[in-house]
């Protein structure tokens, strides 16, 4: 066992990288849930994004186009969910599960042609001046552009939900869709757009796994990241800034357990690999109990079908 090989600075820097896929997927789901829809298909949309992004990047040689393809792929899959849930009034829990099962099947079928191929490399962008700050520079300001995009999207979603008129409408639709409908808001249209955004974000998160983290296509590449993203939304009490905290926490745990594995700590590898999932459960328990229960912060119409009886 050799713990001296673990550098705190490198650990924190890789934490930020490791948290990015979960952050992106969770941010999309947060917007979806604030509009009153529970999409349990995050895992399916993520893995679809992972393969469409990978395929696009390999075909074009450009990681940026790959991410675009991933966003389109994730959004395309979410259209299926939206049509079923919004217009055909299907059960959201069951439809979300179906989306995950379908997405996993679709991705592994498409992915067969891409086994063993490496993704085109993506360089880091060191932000001038800021990246030269000792300690903080390497941790925060020497990453690829998707990491910055993730953080920028958090700020953007925060601004949208709390400072823009459309965000206020979206929240109204999520809190009470009947009242919002009576006020003349287009409940289904808004929810459709939110679901599309959620799908695109999940797709980006998936592509970050296949293009940057791993970086190649492996079957079942998401390994529950989509479900962890769902848990983080609850952890964050549906607030974007706390989402960032949650994603870093989980990024930290997965990086730490990988480092401990590499340092040959006398704990079985399997037990270390369980850690992120166990911590997710622990955090869910902590956040759900005690004062300020998470359930109270949930959008009022979350998971309920909307049918305008006119």
């Amino acid at each position: 066992m050799d713990l001296s090989g673990i550098s705190p600075v490198l650990l924190l820097a890789s934490l930020i990288v490791a948290s990015t896929p979960i952050l992106l997927a969770a941010l999309g789901e947060l917007v979806v849930e604030r509009s009153g829809v529970l999409n349990l298909g995050v895992e399916g949309m993520m893995i679809t994004g992972a393969i469409t992004g990978f395929a696009t990047a390999v075909a074009t040689g450009s990681p940026a186009l790959g991410f675009l393809g991933a966003a389109v792929g994730g959004a395309a899959l979410s259209v299926l969910f939206a049509v079923l849930v919004l217009w055909l009034k299907s059960n959201q829990v069951a439809t979300g599960l179906a989306l995950t099962l379908f997405g996993l099947g679709l991705a592994s079928m498409v992915g067969q042609a891409y086994n063993g191929i490496r993704a085109p490399e993506m360089g880091d962008i060191a932000i001038p001046l800021l990246s030269d700050i000792p300690v903080l520079g390497p941790i925060l300001f020497r990453h690829d552009w998707v990491v910055y995009l993730g953080v920028a999207l958090v700020a953007g979603v925060w601004w949208f939900l709390n400072r823009s008129r459309a965000g206020l409408t979206l929240r109204a639709v999520g809190e009470n869709h009947d009242a919002a409908h009576a006020l003349g808001y287009h409940v289904l249209r808004l929810r459709f757009l939110a679901i599309l955004f959620g799908g695109a974000c999940a797709g980006l998160g998936g592509a970050y796994l296949s293009l940057v983290r791993v970086p190649q296509w492996t079957e079942g590449i998401t390994a529950g990241a989509g479900w962890i993203a769902l848990a983080i939304v609850v952890f964050a009490s549906w607030r974007p800034l706390r989402l960032l905290l949650g994603a870093w926490l989980f990024g930290g745990i997965s990086v730490l357990q990988l480092n401990l594995q590499a340092a040959r700590v006398p704990i079985p590898v399997e037990v270390l690999s369980m850690a992120p999932y166990l911590v997710t459960i622990l955090v869910l328990v902590l956040i759900s109990s005690g004062r300020g229960r998470a359930a109270l912060a949930a959008p009022g119409s979350l998971g309920q079908p909307f049918h305008a009886s006119r």
């Binding site: 069951a94 379908f102 067969q112 999932y277 049918h307």
Partner: protein, 376 residues
């Protein structure tokens, strides 16, 4: 303009028709998909749905049908109670693994004894193991209000890691020359779960699945517990007034589903699978969710849906061998089936009405039908 009108009560005719329509639609779209992949669609559909039953190798594949359907039905019956009551245990895959692990561990503790008590003891341990694993999200939900969907699912990943740990560590075959995996339980007479009637594929797990269908039918139709489950699903408030304790309902539903999933696991590991190995689980716990919905959460429906889904597994394997169709295509096929079913469910809950123009809209309010009377 087309619009939907909520039915006063769900249509029974459509509830029966939609699963059949969904299967049909899946065949058509699946056929188109196979055609797009350059395979003969009719041949592919026939290989999946017809050949396992009546084809050239049917004498080999027919027993496989019950072997695959057994665990699917057993798990889906357990899940159906919770799904009816709005309790979403989607971690049956983990409970299935835990059932196999605890069952195998208890059995191997007595190796090489030849006592006849070992197999029943293993079955009991498997059921309890699966039950305990399912009670974790149940208790957390009751005590702390955590979301059972997320917790039960997280525990699947914990269970797969436990499985890998057990197969390489404590349960590894000491005479296995370092290969991962436990002793072969189906070849040790005290723990074996053999085919009971030659050529049928029936082992104890299949019998348990059949019994579970019967018991579930009686429970739902005749017992106070079934009433509580149905009431809680249709109207939680009414259930509260009727004296149904939500906490007790959560724990009971989780215990039933976990116990049955655990049973499925232990029957599998002692029979068809034979040993604890890293890739012991093959996704029955997730496919069972599709089975439960396709069967309309009704015991008889689940029986039929389980058989159908088993057919797609076997047919899928045959298509893989004969037409080199990718294995994932069947997974896609199963997901598609669930999609079509959920989409067509709209016909059960709503009437599709066509209205010529907006001017007539107020009339539609007047023309709404009175709630149906005397249908029950």
């Amino acid at each position: 303009m087309i619009y939907l009108e909520k039915r006063p009560t769900p249509s029974r005719a459509w509830a029966l028709a939609t699963p059949l329509l969904a299967v049909l639609a899946t065949m058509i779209v699946g056929g188109l998909l196979f055609a797009a992949m350059g395979k003969d669609p009719v041949l592919a559909i026939r290989t999946i749905f017809w050949d396992p039953l009546f084809g050239e190798f049917a004498s080999y594949t027919r027993p496989q049908l019950l072997i695959k359907a057994g665990p699917l039905i057993l798990i889906a019956i357990g899940l159906s109670f919770g799904f009816r009551a709005g309790i979403w245990n989607i971690g049956a895959e983990g409970q299935y693994i835990l059932g196999a692990l605890t069952g195998a561990a208890v059995g191997l503790a007595f190796y090489p004894s030849e006592s006849r008590l070992i197999f029943p003891l293993m079955v009991l341990a498997g059921a309890l193991g699966g039950m305990a694993w399912a009670l974790i999200p149940g208790l957390l939900k009751v005590r702390f209000g955590t979301n059972e969907i997320l917790v039960s699912l997280m525990l699947v990943y914990v269970a797969t890691n436990l499985l890998a740990y057990a197969a390489l560590g404590p349960l590894q075959n000491p005479e296995g020359m370092g290969f991962p995996g436990s002793r072969n339980l189906s070849q040790w007479s005290a723990s074996a779960n053999p085919e009971l009637f030659t050529g049928t594929g029936i082992h104890w797990g299949v019998i348990a699945a059949g019994l579970s269908v019967l018991v579930a039918y009686v429970l739902l139709a005749r017992h106070a517990f079934g009433f509580a489950v149905r009431l809680a699903g249709q109207s939680p408030r009414a259930a509260a007034f009727a004296g149904v304790s939500p906490s007790r309902l959560v724990l009971t539903c989780m215990a039933i589903s976990g116990g049955l999933a655990g049973l499925a696991g232990v029957f599998e590991v002692t029979g068809p699978a034979g040993q604890i190995s890293i890739d012991f689980n093959v996704g029955y716990g997730f496919t069972a969710i599709i089975v439960a919905f396709l069967g309309r959460l009704h015991p008889v429906g689940i029986l039929l849906a389980g058989l159908l889904m088993a057919l797609t597994y076997i047919g899928g394997e045959m298509a893989q061998l004969q037409l080199s169709l990718p294995a994932a295509a069947i997974q896609l096929f199963q997901g598609m089936l669930l999609f079509f079913l959920l989409a067509m469910d709209v016909l059960t809950q709503f009437r599709v009405r066509v209205r010529s123009g907006r001017a007539q809209a107020p009339q539609a309010v007047v023309a709404q039908p009175k709630p149906a009377q005397g249908t029950h």
